[in-house]
């Protein structure tokens, strides 16, 4: 049953159920995106760029003849990797930023600069191959790429990370001098055993009950409707870049550095973005640089935009996790060993983060903190698959698939309820034991899904057509809280109060969908409550512009809403001070004897003497009041809260179809910043969660290594007809730092679902399928295997 959430502390706008601030603009098709701006009708002299892509999984251009392409109709420029300027670009890790804005020498994964802007060498089928074309129309550019006469040197390829580690495997990225396809450790995430506490092997040997399980998370796609792209115009000495990246200032640093331009000669403008799903953490995409070069050579604006097929570009890293748990008979877990093998694909990008970052710090230090013996280890390996970029829930989703498989198995072996095993063993080191957040979420979830009726695996009622039902759950720590956002540094914002008491809020961030803009406006209205401010009287500046705006908050980590909100009070206080200052001569009183409330300034010692703020500002010089903030938000270490997902599935043993019937998504938000927004995340996150559980996987042709389903017919994204009944349950149990003390929930709402579904399928039919998606084929095969055994 759907119930409205009641906040711990009632505020006027923050934490309430409200429409999005830009809901109307979006519902009318008036919100502007890159494709609505980068049009020939708006830029009549615009050229279209295309890049040559590798047709093979592993190859190099031996020779390319561009003559024919250059003579094609409409072609204005062709640049190859042999061009001295193109060849001179510095290499990059293509993972320049995480949450912070950094220069080249502080980019993420600096030891993995395995990408060349123009390189003849390709590591996956679809890789950019170092030849670009600009033509009058997109069609002409496409035809010109087809007309390139390329002689390819084709190498053996490898898709399986186990095979890739063998001594005779084809060596990928030999220029990196890694000596093998195993990606060597680097300083940030540490050695191959990156977390080691106590003595795991001894504890496992002594444990009376043990489990040893393995899961495999496949390559999946972000599935953003708005494909990556840019429009770059480089005239004279100035470059303007219109793009749908989610990081304006970082991109400005990137372009300025790689193109050797001073920062005031680079302007980045970013409108609304048609979803990001984490992908833009691989933000220094090569196309910015080749589009820039094409623009400078032609003197014309150059548009580059991925086609749907090309937009399958950076994937969720496929990771195989093995978990070994040891426990006492009372259910106390005494040892945990996790061994990961990450398939990096053709470049490292953020694969090492997916494997090691969360599992190196937050997971063992918070979620697993009470366990005395923990060892986490593994490797990342190059293969000729899509490079592992960054995708919503990076690393956590793959880890959770194995973690809660192990817990479910262990509980079954012990004859205990997995919910109780989870409550008994896990929680952050700062909290009470049992962890109040985990306990509250799991008990509420169990109640809502009807957990007390859960039957032993495969032993439930048989429904029509032999169908069986099952329940499953999974839980995970939430994503970042304020203290994990420290690398971002200062947050900047500015509130301009017009003389009519309306406001313009410059809280720069690319709005990709989560509703950070709405949160910022609600927090601004709450902070300006002394003016009876309402959200409809605030305009949020809806484009990031690195020339006219403040520094943008990189739209990642689900952190932006509260990072801006935390500073709103400071800007509001400045506005209040300015009102008092302006009121002094009018009300003939000292500022210390004045106050503002109910949109009136009044004399405290003589409250009958007052003036409305509007009248005050209107009778002066009409100069707006400006309040701003520019500081590091609170960074106290307060631990993290949790999220849980309970599901009910129905499995048809005749067809192998898994139908998810109900999902209960619970999040301890700390503070709910925007109730409707939270529920939109909790419900909407299931499009990825459910997709990765049942439908989504990038499929490769094993013989050629070529991906087969780079389209939305064969790569199946859930639609409305696939969606079950979803119950979003926002909660406030834990409380973090600052005025609001919330955590990010945008990532974790996708994390638990594949495991919860797989556990529910096991509960329904008694077979484990631990390599999602749980397709009918896999279910039927597993049932057949079980039947053969019995």
């Amino acid at each position: 049953m759907k119930t409205a959430f009641t906040p711990r502390r009632q505020r006027k706008f923050v934490g309430t159920y409200r429409p999005r601030i830009e809901g109307r603009a979006k519902a009318l098709g008036r919100a502007e995106y890159l494709d609505d701006l980068a049009l020939n009708i708006k830029y009549p002299d615009m050229l279209h760029a295309k890049v040559l892509r590798s047709p093979y999984a592993h190859c190099r251009i031996k020779k390319v003849d561009t003559q024919k392409a250059e003579n094609m109709p409409g072609v204005r420029c062709v640049i190859t990797f042999q061009d001295p300027e193109a060849a001179a670009f510095k290499p990059t890790s293509c993972a320049w930023t995480g949450v912070d804005t950094v220069p080249y020498d502080r980019m993420y994964w600096p030891t993995y600069k395995d990408k060349r802007v123009f390189g003849p060498y390709c590591t996956w089928a679809g890789d950019e191959a170092g030849v670009v074309v600009a033509a009058e129309t997109e069609q002409q550019a496409r035809e010109a790429v087809k007309a390139l006469e390329v002689e390819w040197e084709v190498f053996d390829h490898v898709l399986d990370p186990h095979e890739a580690m063998k001594p005779d495997a084809p060596l990928i990225n030999p220029e990196m001098n890694f000596g093998s396809n195993v990606i060597p450790p680097e300083p940030l995430c540490g050695p191959e055993v990156w977390f080691n506490k106590g003595d795991v092997d001894a504890a496992l040997a002594q444990a009376p009950v043990q489990v040893d399980v393995t899961s495999n998370f496949p390559n999946t796609d972000h599935g953003c409707l708005d494909s990556m792209g840019c429009l770059i115009h480089w005239t004279d000495d100035k470059l303007t870049c219109l793009t749908n990246s989610y990081q304006g200032d970082q991109l400005k640093v990137h372009l300025s550095t790689m193109l050797d331009l001073p920062m005031h000669k680079v302007r980045v403008v970013i409108p609304y973005l048609g979803a990001s799903m984490g992908r833009w953490n691989v933000g220094d995409q090569l196309f910015f640089l080749f589009s820039a070069l094409l623009s400078r050579r032609t003197g014309r604006p150059v548009r580059f935009k991925h086609t749907r097929r090309e937009d399958f570009h950076d994937t969720r890293s496929a990771i195989e996790w093995r978990a070994r748990l040891g426990a006492k008979e009372d259910g106390t877990i005494t040892a945990a060993n996790f061994i990961g093998l990450a398939d990096s694909g053709g470049y490292v990008e953020h694969t090492v983060a997916a494997l090691k970052f969360m599992t190196g710090f937050e997971i063992p230090e918070c979620m697993l903190a009470p366990l005395e013996n923990i060892r986490i280890e593994g490797k990342a390996v190059y293969t000729n698959r899509l490079p592992g970029g960054c995708m919503r829930g990076i690393g956590n989703n793959q880890f959770n698939l194995c973690f809660m498989l192990a817990v479910d198995e262990l509980a079954e072996k012990l004859g205990l309820d997995p919910v109780q095993v989870a409550i008994k063993n896990f929680g952050h080191e700062w909290g009470q034991k049992p962890d109040i957040s985990i306990k509250a979420l799991l008990e509420e979830g169990a109640k809502r899904i009807g957990w007390e009726n859960r039957h032993p695996a495969g032993q439930g009622q048989v429904y029509e057509y032999g169908k069986r039902r099952g329940l499953g759950f999974s839980f995970h720590m939430s994503w970042h809280t304020a203290w994990q956002e420290i690398p971002r540094g200062r947050v900047q914002l500015r509130v301009r109060l017009n003389p009519d008491c309306t406001a313009v809020l410059d809280a720069p961030m690319v709005e990709t969908g989560p509703g950070s803009n709405s949160c910022a406006v609600f927090a601004c209205a709450d902070a300006l409550d002394f003016l009876d401010m309402t959200p409809d009287r605030i305009t949020w500046v809806d484009k990031v512009d690195t020339e006219t705006g403040l520094k943008d908050m990189v739209q990642t980590d689900s952190a932006v809403s509260y990072l801006h909100a935390e500073l709103m009070a400071e800007a509001a206080a400045q506005i209040k001070d300015q009102i008092l200052e302006r009121a002094e001569p009018v009300l003939e009183a000292e500022a210390s004897d004045l106050d503002v409330a109910g949109s009136k300034v009044f004399v405290k010692s003589d409250p009958d003497k007052s003036i409305t703020v509007r009248d005050l500002l209107w009778q002066g010089d009409m100069t707006p009041l400006v309040g701003s903030a520019n500081r590091v938000p609170p960074e106290e270490v307060t631990g993290v809260p949790y999220a849980a997902t309970f599901v009910e599935v129905e499995v048809d043993p005749g067809t192998g179809m898994v139908e998810v019937q109900k999902i209960v998504q619970l999040n301890d938000c700390g503070t709910v910043m925007y109730a409707t927004g939270v529920e939109a995340q909790q419900t909407g996150g299931q499009c990825i969660g459910l997709g990765e559980a049942i439908y989504e996987e990038i499929v490769y042709d094993k013989k050629t290594g070529v991906p087969l389903n780079f389209n939305w017919v064969d790569y199946r994204i859930p639609t409305m007809a696939d969606f079950p009944d979803i119950e979003p349950v926002p909660m406030e149990v834990w409380l973090g730092a600052g005025e609001y003390g919330p955590c990010g929930i945008g990532e974790v709402v996708t994390t638990n679902t594949p495991r919860a579904v797989a556990n529910a399928v096991y509960n329904a039919v008694g077979v484990r399928i631990d390599d999602p998606p749980l397709t009918p084929k896999k279910v039927l095969e597993a049932l057949k295997k079980k039947g053969d055994r019995s």
Partner: protein, 170 residues
């Protein structure tokens, strides 16, 4: 299908009640390209460009069509309605914009699919003014919302049809 030979001829389109005569068209140009790039009607979004996502949906002679899968020449003489042609107070628009009842979230997040959903819903409600939830789910299942706002979208469509929003059952 043989390529229509219209490049020399003018194409007459009636869009949002206004007549347009376009010349110099490539016969392969889609309706989406013409509406967006020649007429500047940017509300529709081209996302998959192969008929799999519904983001480019417009209404042609009272029927929802995928403008990325419709050649411009096929629209000759037809009545086209794009999102720009909707009354700003249209109940479908209002319902999508205001959806915020507890338990469902908002009817959009990134908003890229929204114009397509609004137009699909509009055409559907013209055909079936009082649909059931099951009929809504069926009718709107050709549109992809990666942000996953399906339950709220279904509620918005119910609301736009003047019916009391109800629990979403599978």
């Amino acid at each position: 299908m043989s390529a229509p030979q219209t490049s020399e001829k003018a194409l007459s389109l009636r869009v949002n009640g206004r007549d347009h005569v376009l010349t110099g068209l490539d016969p392969a140009e889609t309706l989406a390209e013409v509406l967006k790039n020649r007429l500047g009607l940017t509300g529709l979004k081209v996302s998959c460009d192969e008929g799999a996502c519904g983001a480019c949906t417009v209404i042609m002679d009272s029927r929802a069509v995928l403008s990325c899968m419709t050649l411009a020449v096929e629209a000759q003489g037809r009545e086209i309605l794009t999102i720009e042609g909707l009354d700003p107070e249209d109940p479908v628009v209002q319902a999508f914009a205001h959806q915020h009842e507890p338990g469902y979230g908002t009817a959009m997040q990134c908003g890229y699919c929204t114009p397509g959903f609004v137009m699909t819903a509009k055409a559907f409600l013209m055909e079936n003014p009082k649909p059931t939830l099951a009929q809504i789910r069926e009718a709107l299942s050709g549109n992809v919302c990666r942000c996953g706002c399906y339950p709220a979208i279904a509620q918005a469509v119910l609301r736009a049809s003047g019916q009391k929003a109800e629990e979403m059952k599978p």
